[in-house]
């Protein structure tokens, strides 16, 4: 019985960890390409979830098609955010704080619109493998959670390949590290920045599709996800997608092990204390060699 409890805690921690990591991943992608903390990342997930729900329930689309549409709509939203919010702020010499606030305003706007047009109810999105779960030594994990872990891992690998092996990925890195230099060697920096946000939105929409079957769609979920995702991304050093997922896992496991060993009431206190300690002891983050570039 005790063993199964520990295993359950680990399974639950890994599930939550990947949820935090998937949001953190998007924050890291945007930060890597634009040096901006995007407070809307959780709301990209909310939007992706809403699009998928409407397509599946109102138009009867099959799940994989809705999945793709949610990702694409996330990408379009990301690009719109860059054009409508980020670029005008940059034109007026916004500071780091302005970017944070303008995306925070965007997050409020998404949440308010969902409440207004979609309602206060929580909506169920079917998961991969329905509601079935798998037994591991008398502990349970949902098939959908397993799928989330596998897809999350695949996304990390794909992003690694994208940044190392594609011209666009390298252009994104160049445009963020040295915008002027990138411009002179013929990179269309504004376009690349728009695409960076598009990529962030794509990952966000994907996260939405994967997360909502676990928690149900709800107009307030965006900011909650962003907070934990931000913690995951910073732990991972802010610029590394792999680091973000790892940071999420650390956070998720600390939380769930705190539940088993100490108490569920003090779970957040313990997790946040450890988070602060890690940052003090490892000022580069767990993975980013240049993680403090944010500072």
């Amino acid at each position: 019985m005790v063993l199964s409890l520990w295993i359950q805690a680990i399974l639950s921690g890994v599930t939550n960890g990947f949820v935090y990591g998937l949001i953190g991943l998007g924050i890291a992608v945007v930060f890597r390409g634009a040096r901006i903390i995007n407070a809307m990342q959780g709301d990209f997930a909310l939007l992706g979830g809403v699009v998928a729900y409407l397509l599946v329930h109102n138009l009867g689309w099959p799940l994989p098609a809705a999945f793709l549409a949610a990702m694409l709509s996330g990408a379009v939203c990301g690009m719109l955010v860059e054009r409508l919010l980020i670029r005008p702020t940059a034109r007026r010499q916004g500071t780091d704080d302005s970017y944070l606030l303008v995306t925070l305003g965007g997050a409020f706007a998404v949440s308010a619109s969902v409440l207004l047009y979609f309602g206060r109810d929580s909506y169920v999105l079917p998961g991969i493998g329905g509601d079935q779960s798998v037994d591991v030594f008398n502990a349970a994990i949902r098939v959908h959670a397993l799928a989330l872990i596998v897809i999350g891992t695949l996304v990390v690998i794909a992003l690694r390949w994208f940044y190392r092996g594609t011209r666009l990925g390298q252009a994104m890195l160049a445009a963020s590290i040295d915008p002027d230099g990138a411009q002179t060697i013929g990179i269309n920096v504004p376009l690349v920045r728009t695409l960076t946000f598009g990529l962030g939105g794509l990952v966000g929409g994907l996260a939405g599709m994967l997360v909502t079957p676990l928690i149900n769609l709800h107009y307030e979920m965006g900011l909650l996800l962003t907070l934990k995702g931000f913690a995951a991304a910073v732990l991972g050093g802010l610029t590394s997608p792999f680091g973000a997922v790892f940071g999420g896992l650390v956070l998720g496991l600390v939380e769930s092990l705190a539940i088993v060993t100490v108490s569920s009431g003090y779970k957040d206190v313990i997790a946040m204390t450890i988070l602060i300690l890690i940052m003090i002891v490892m000022p580069q983050g767990l993975f980013g060699r240049r993680g403090r570039m944010g500072g």
Binding site: L5, A112, D131, I141
Partner: protein, 378 residues
Amino acid sequence: MVRSVSKLLICTAIAAGALATAAIAQPKGEPIKIGAILSLSGPGAGLGQPERAGILLAEQAINARGGINGQPVKIIIEDDGSKPDIAKSKAERLVFDEKVVAMIGPSLTASTGAVSAITNAEGLAQITFTGLGPKIELTYKSLYHVLPPQELNARAMLEYTTKALKAKRIGVLHDTGYGQVVLNSLNALHDKYGVEFTAVEKFEVGATDVSAQAAKVRAANPEVVFVIATSPVPFRNARQVKIEQPIVSAIGSASYDYIRGIGEFADDIVFPEFVVGEDPKPEQKEFVAAFQKAYNALPKNFEAAGWDSAQILASGIAKAGGAKATPKEIAAAIRGVHQGAMAKYDFSRDDMTGIELSSYVFSKVVKGKFERLPFVAK
């Protein structure tokens, strides 16, 4: 989009209904103003929106039957965004600028605390949707509650557990908001009912996965599990980690949204509550039929509480002499027994509610619908 269209339809339906009835009995003169502060946005929107549906329906019904002593009633509804300080500003405005004769709401405990300090100083009647709050509220003699104190909710849960299920060992899985409040009351009662809480685990509002907490509850081998939360996640996780014991929940989770969110795992969860729209008690039939006609949906407890709050105020104002009555006279006129759609209240009691255990209805979820159980608490 779908929602806004349906909302529009509802509004039109209500307006059309109001017009049709206006021809029959037309209340005349200056409207009598009642203020309402509800959480229509923010985390409390899940409470405030159903409450508003009940209030609007009652307002329409009151005016359709000729208003209060022939004068129309107007309920000014304000949104506090689930924040107590906004609730306070709105209350100052409604009480002193709009000069309402009585107040309805708010939806959340903290907002009630902020607003009741104002209404109490003025002796203005306030019918709130929260159970009894901090002790000081017992000294507020114009603050009435249409929802039971959490202590009573806790007793209803324990009545069912000890009498219908004959169980003594209970595991609790609860959130840090609503769940915490109910838990505090449960803790105060366990000696009286001779029960033991074998595991008590909590999680934050909005948690994504609480399987670890659920597994800890299961590991303690309880006979019954209480899940008290305002989110479907813990119910699903509880069943997923194979908690096969009966699950008893609390009134705050008894809504169609949550049941839909919990999906097939919702079957057999037991709720101590008040309104089972599928099978209403005789005194609830009028309200349920009216609600179904207006909104094309079945009401639950918060809709009924909204309806009751406006109806009780209307009868109180009428009793105190209509438009001439001062707020204090109205507050005094309300202090008495009311048979509402949700429950029978006795506002002359010390707890300012007077809801009895016998008003509770116990329901079980079967395929997304609530089924009234034969069990009745004494």
